[in-house]
Symmetry: C2
Subunit: 204 residues, 2 copies
């Protein structure tokens, strides 16, 4: 399921080396951003030769997509579990506040806007992701008796995903003004609907 048909050999998906390259690429993506994910640097981080990247992935876009897919499936499952938990709003909030996931999401989004090949798949996934959330939240809101005209579930979703992102970005720059207040504000709402934060912070 790579980008294009090719006469070239491609390494098996089950390969241990391939997994190492994926790990290295993901780490680089997190630590230094998509621009730092080059075949040479990925290989160096994995302690391998640069040509192996092209043996296993042919193009850099294929590598990016492979990293993305590996995380995406896992993510949808985690989110489904969060939405099915006893306190879904809290679970969703904690899920969105995971810095690693948030950073990866932002990096892939930036990448999608620069690489046409990757764009479609990421946009498609993002829609599925959002849809999964929306569907669950409609039920939750009905159950809680929330007036969805006043507070539409889709708007809540956007708030719950945009806030952690900007907090993470600002934190990286050393900014913290208003962060505690914002988190407190959100969590006051969560508490109003679902009581205190679950003791086990949704170990997803």
């Amino acid at each position: 399921m790579t980008t294009a048909a090719s006469p070239r050999r491609i390494g098996a998906e089950s390969s241990r080396t391939r997994a190492q390259l994926l790990d290295a690429a993901e780490l680089l993506l997190l630590e230094e951003g998509y621009a730092a994910v080059t075949s040479r640097r990925v290989a160096a981080k994995a302690g391998l030769k640069p040509q192996l990247v092209h043996y296993y992935f042919r193009t850099m876009d294929d590598l990016f997509l492979a990293v993305f897919r590996r995380g995406a499936e896992h993510n949808l499952e985690r989110q489904a579990r969060a939405l099915a938990s006893p306190k879904p709003l809290w679970a969703l909030w904690d899920f969105n506040c995971d810095p690693r996931g948030t950073a990866l999401t932002m990096e892939f989004t930036a990448l999608a806007n620069r690489r046409p090949t990757i764009r479609d798949e990421i946009a498609n996934y993002a829609e599925r992701f959002r849809h999964q959330q929306a569907e669950a939240l409609v039920g939750v809101f009905r159950q809680y008796g929330i007036d969805t005209g006043e507070l539409p579930p889709t708007a809540v979703l956007i708030l719950m995903s945009s806030i952690p992102r900007i907090l993470l970005i600002e934190n990286a720059l050393g900014m913290t003004t208003g962060h505690a207040e914002t988190v407190a504000l959100v969590e006051r709402y969560l508490t109003r609907f679902e009581g205190d934060r679950p003791s086990e912070p949704s170990a997803v």
Copy 2:
């Protein structure tokens, strides 16, 4: 005021060519992201020779900083005007919703996290920017009689800047679910405090 002392010649700040290079760099930054801003591509976009970039800016970091500074000063003034307008919350919201400014901010933020040389200046500016907002908003909230324990002005600032960003990002991916609802939600609040949106949308 460049990064380092150097024996090399540097072109005058008043140069017309220099301004063209700045324009080209800013445009590239907006259209294709920071990774696309290379000396060769900037020069090509301006219809000039690549070496001129290094004549006027010595390093690429100097170029980035020059683009940033040119916009930053202008931005602080615009925001000051917005905050001094008769309906400051509406003005601030409209200001934050400007897609060009938002996109540039995001690009520079990403850049700051990858380039140590640039980082400090951007972080410093962001703090000043936020501080200017916070100071003004405290007065506004007092005037409107808003309970700042319930709704802290700094939290409102984070909401008002994070929401337009995620809407812009999602839009770029073709996602629109919940956008209208979120904007409507915010604007209901703005209307509650300041009445209808000012007819002249804060021509800043």
